[in-house]
Symmetry: C2
Subunit: 224 residues, 2 copies
DNA sequence: AGCTGTGAAAAGATTCACAGCG
DNA sequence: CGCTGTGAATCTTTTCACAGCT
């Protein structure tokens, strides 16, 4: 009766659930049966109170005095993330990065099926890639529609990204993972996540910059 | 006089500064002289109050009633991010993703110089990559030390990541960008940023899952 | 008048600390 | 007794709204 009303799961929690899921898969492979929040948190690199709060959004899964059943917990997280049903994806833009993404085993092993690889360059169309062949971008809409694709991955140059995004959205895609260094505009019902490689380095650069000065802003003498 | 005491710049702000920087570079290229917080925010995909607050951490840069000088602002952000000095990096793990990262023009064009590409596979050592050659991982420490490398990029399989990380840190690297799906432990003085490709798709999967049910949890009828 | 810069309020995320179940 | 699950406290981030400079 006290079926826990799953209040809205916070965005920050969702991001961590994916990490816990990976860690738990490792534990399952190592035949671990039970894990405490303390142990799991240590492996996942978070603090245990945070982990417990994160898991509490999924309902009461653990056993007090004992911990969490690894298999049960993993299953529960996977289902919360919607990974029980396989999702179909397309990848657009098959340059260096596109090739790397297509070859990334982590995707298919984790419930994502790529049903199309597209590029605008005629010189690339027809070349083999991963488990398929590069298609001309003109086929994008039909493939998306025929396969009920819900996730589109964009790895084109920045100047093509918005156009590709618009076409994906028009064809029915409602989630986009964008590797192009550009800000995409989409309707409200579409989710976009961005991976900005250069920005990541710049953020690290900021911290390097920080470290080379004292907390008070003064220069710190080099250790070397 | 009222030289603005630059209170600690929040982490969330730092991440956005990198985005503003890219947008501003685009505006410079388009010969735009001045931009208002409203305009800049629209292009960067954030709200204008947030943008103004972000910029306020860098000091008072804009002109009331007018806006920001594009060149001045860009320069100011670049210097805050520590991009005035060029940073040297090494890349470890030259699989598909490593190749893509090495070939990513965005890095060198934005102030990052890669001084070494390493892999443990003898079959890869000596092959050309980007502007150099793949080196054996055994040379890692000497290259890091000789070049004062501050940023290490890890694109190895998960099971090698921690070992590589330890070696980088021991050799003096204080910032790590990790593409391997694993949690790294590092000393306090070392910063780690993680890019987890599968996790990104899983987060989108969660939102897809969400969308297929109503806000109240009920199933929503398919639109097709 | 227009637009920045910023206190103050609101929302969101993390951490604490402990009640309560097994 | 040990460990989960969670209110309450704290800290961070976002948003509001307007004083004040140009």
């Amino acid at each position: 009766m006290s079926e826990r009303r799953p209040r809205e799961i916070p965005e920050a929690t969702v991001a961590r659930l994916a990490v816990y899921l990976r860690v738990l898969t490792g534990l399952v492979d190592a035949s671990t049966v039970t894990v405490s929040s303390e142990e799991l948190a240590a492996i996942a690199g978070v603090n245990s109170a945070k982990l417990r709060k994160d898991l509490s959004y999924l309902g009461s899964i653990g056993t007090r005095g004992v911990g969490y059943d690894v298999t049960v917990l993993r299953e529960r997280i996977a289902s919360s993330l919607g990974l029980s049903e396989r999702r179909t994806c397309v990848l657009v833009g098959i340059g260096n990065l596109g090739h790397a993404l297509a070859g990334y085993a982590g995707f298919s092993s984790r419930g994502f099926t790529f049903v199309g690889y597209f590029d605008a360059d005629p010189g690339r169309v027809g070349l083999p890639i991963a488990d398929g062949t590069i298609s001309d971008i003109s086929a994008l809409e039909s493939v998306v529609e025929e396969n009920g694709v819900s996730i589109g991955v964009i790895a084109t140059p920045a100047d093509a990204a918005q156009t590709v995004c618009d076409r994906l959205v028009d064809a029915g895609v409602t989630s986009i993972l964008n590797f192009a260094p550009s800000v995409l505009s989409v309707p409200d019902n579409v989710d976009v996540r961005k991976v900005d490689l250069a920005a990541e380095l710049q953020i690290l650069s900021f911290h390097e910059h920080r470290k080379s000065r004292g907390p008070d802003g003064g220069l710190v003498e080099s250790v070397g």
